[in-house]
Amino acid sequence: MVVSHSRALARAAVTLAAEMAAGARIEIAAGLDDTTLGTDATAIVDALVAADDGDGVVVLMDLGSAVLSAELALELVDEDLRSRVVLCPAPLVEGLVAAAVTAAGGAGRDEVAREASDGLLGKVAQLGTAPAEDAGGEAMATVTVGNPHGLHARPAARLVTEARRLNAGLEVRNRTTGSAWVPATSLSRVATLGALRGHEIDVRASGPGARAAVDEIVAVAARRFDETPPELDKIGEWGGPVPVDLDLIGGNTTGTGVRRGQGASAGIGIGPAWRRSSTPPEVPDEPSQGTDVEWRRVEDAVAAVRLEIDKIWEGNPEASIFDAHLLLLDDAELLGEVRQRIEGGQAAPQAFRGAAGRIAAEFDTLDDPYLRGRGDDVHAVADQVLRAMLGISGTAASGDGVLVAPDLTPAEAATLDPVRVTGVLLAFGSPTSHGAILARTRGIPMVVGAGPAVLSGPPGAVVVLDGSTGEFAISPPEPVAAAFRDRAAERSARAGRAAARAGEPAVTADGVTVHVAANLGSVADARAAAANGADLAGLVRTEFLFLDRDAAPSVDEQVAVYRQIAEALGGRRITLRTLDVGGDKPLRYAPAPHEQNPFLGVRGIRHSLAHPAVFADQLLAIARVARETPVSIMFPMVSTVGEVVTARRMLDDAIGRAGRSDGLRVGIMIEVPAAALRSAAFTPYVDFVSVGTNDLTQYTLAAERGNAALSADGLDPAVLRLIRLVCEQSGVPVAVCGELAADEAAVPLLTALGVRELSVAPPAVPLVKESVRGTRLEQAGPLAERACGLADANAVRALLKPGNVHSGR
């Protein structure tokens, strides 16, 4: 007999078993009905009664409630039948096949159950694995702390992370000081051990896996909790002197103080360094709105801060100082006290400040100065959480000059004042992060990956940076500063030339017109695009209308905003991309199930098709606007033709309601390699395609763009080949709307591959147009072919050095 959540699954399993053993009698109790998943104890009772012919019943179950419901059903049948029923722990499919074969041979129920339980052996033997054996019981060991500063933030965080991962009830105590046992999973508790170098720490665990868990901790301790010894700290690697290629000071690089990070937003930034305000936010005196509301505020704020820290942390091993912050965010001691205070009637901000203050004070009483300093971690996290809770932006006080920071969130990048902020220098970060994209959009020069040392520079010191080359210097000698000023002057002269003819079409030296369009995320962007001479809007990110609100925007509201964008662009064509969100940016009014990996989940057009009401409204709004002004619509994250067919059908419905318009063009974004590879299959359904090189690069190279340890460069030959394939096979005009389009080095190459529209951040339009004008296809064509055959993006960049492609600059 089969108990399963799914009737379809149960029937299929029975069919499979029946093929092997036609004579076996198998009853099913599965699903609440044909389609609703679930298990029903009363249905199991019925099936048991039906299955029993006096010889008893062997029950195979899938998981979770199937087991619970089967056990409950056993309680509900009479004792006589109960004594003849065996609940068998075998895996459903393997067990059922083995059981059916055995039962058909006339064996009794116990033998059937035994054979079913052995049903997995064949697969185990085939795959050469053996089930893990775990003795259980207690395990204990003693380790000696070898870290120079004892078990301070980073090593302690490493211990806690491991302990949580091992999930074996690990506890530790400081044997040397005779401390009490504390859970190894709580950072604040582990820190209170006051474990210094040379102290002995007892580690214990219980339950299955205890021995392995303790051994694991012993191993981690032997590696000094994976702390890099200070003498090996790779300061030099982060910000060492630039060895070559520094023509700006006559080739002499020693003693100039010029170092190199990664260029993230082109331009020269010069100005006094400023840091974000670190004063604790003011907590207003407010009454509690009830336990649930206040606790929710805490949870939301903690989640927001965790996201912020995750962003910095990802791919930056040197950012492990933030591990401690991250662990504090779900520290049971801290949150438990916050919860108690909230239940005692405090509002969330007061409760959090109070609990964090109490725990920080505990650190302050410790003997070791290094550990005492860890109280700062608690304060830092608490301030960050409080800011999130109170909606205070970390950059409320925007400074003048060059912002120096660990990393820049998109929200922060969006609030920087481009007039006052002359540049951004980040210790960590990635040139492909959203923060970097925003910096480029706003025309703020930025260098990332400059190394943590820049964070300790004196406030007010003059910083010079070049966002194209990644070079920077703090308090540079005068000749260096002068060289950066010269570069800025040269750049601005070039920008001046470009701006002077920004409104003219971009035509290559051999007469091919390339439309240079703008990527927009707001009406203000549309004005900037018009001012910079964009030929059209090649990508309007409509998300800004949908995020951070409790209900979807109405059709009328959308129509009004799309109309404003078209008006701001003086009636030039606007390409509206339908909503592009996923599990990483959930909408409150279109809840999505939790996903292990939102970037490979229900996002883009998949999300829209899963929320047809929201999608239909957007399509209707677009169809309406298309009757007033030239509009293109494009669907993001397409991977199959079926998605486009469904979306077009819904669009047809919308057009039916709004009325037809001749100017509406339909396109898709090519961001998924699968779509690029079969671009010819989309031809019947589209008027154009637009390659989103950011996501296409990420998905092609399996490299997250924000991860500084990886290269997610759109000039990778694999990405270029996909673009070439799309140009050759799609049979419709091809645009590129990713960051690559704004890369002046890439412009000739993309044009040579066949791209006829480049959509870029508004401030980049004039220079991209200049780059098109400097392109000669008879030179760029062979170069593009060579690029496609090279080994990696670096080789392509070397090939594209200025002078190789352009007829002249």
């Binding site: 959540h5 609440l32 609703t36 998943l37 679930g38 298990t39 029903d40 104890a41 009363t42 249905a43 979770g64 409630s65 619970l68 419901s69 056990e71 409950l72 309680e75 949580r164 991962r165 999930n167 999973t185 336990t291 606790w295 949870e299 903690v302 965010l329 779900d330 520290d331 049971a332 949150l335 438990g336 919860r339 239940e343 809840p591 199930p593 939790h594």
Partner: protein, 211 residues
């Protein structure tokens, strides 16, 4: 109100629980979507709606009958693990209620203890596993103490609600060791357990309807 509870009062309890589940359906589902399969709110709502309908059709005579019908309806309509868990809880309560026409404070403590035992027998959960046990157990202990101290049922239930709420809050920091959430391991920490949340509503419903 009097310190005894009749079938009508128990019926009001069930209705109130159904109402609270309906009201918090989205919250429960949201909590479950963080660490489970996002069906807790939907499943319990389906089950409790069916219970309310069954009880409306034919009002039961004795408490035991009402509790039993509630349990049986839940086991066949909820679908997920909360079906057999809540079902067992109500069936065990029914068994303890026996032939009684009314239940006093001590009886209520007894049937809730039986419900807890049923949940443990069915789910094999222990304290700290991040399950409904972590809210229900403190509530049962609280009501037993209150009744033993001679407090009236209303006060005892109010105390029990607070105990359940504290237990529910404590599940946030726990790492799940039972059910679908246990597949997430340490990632389940930081989320409130949906089962602990719904069972707190059960206790809250009792406090409102039985006293």
């Amino acid at each position: 109100m009097a310190d005894t509870v009749d079938t009508e009062a128990l019926h009001a309890w069930i209705r109130e629980f159904a109402r609270l589940i309906a009201e918090h359906k989205d919250l429960l589902t949201e909590l479950d979507s963080a660490i489970g399969d996002a069906d807790h709110g939907i499943n319990l709502h389906r089950g409790m709606s069916a219970v309310v309908e069954v009880l409306e059709k034919e009002s039961p005579g004795r408490p035991a009958e009402l509790l039993k019908r509630t349990g049986m309806t839940l086991v066949s309509t909820v679908g997920g693990a909360s079906g057999p868990l809540y079902g067992t809880a109500f069936l065990r309560m029914s068994a303890i209620a026996g032939d009684a026409e009314t239940l006093d404070g001590a009886d209520i403590a007894k049937i809730l203890r039986a419900a807890l035992d049923g949940v443990v027998a069915r789910g094999k959960a222990q304290a700290g596993d991040k399950t409904m046990y972590d809210a229900l157990a403190p509530a049962v202990e609280s009501i037993e103490e209150s009744i033993a101290d001679g407090q009236p049922l209303g006060e005892a239930l109010d105390n029990a609600v607070r105990a359940a709420e504290q237990g529910r809050a404590a599940t946030v920091a726990m790492v799940a060791r039972k059910g679908r959430a246990s597949y997430l391991g340490e990632r389940s920490a930081g989320h409130q357990d949906p089962g602990a949340t719904s069972v707190t509503l059960l206790v809250a419903a009792a406090a409102r309807a039985l006293a």
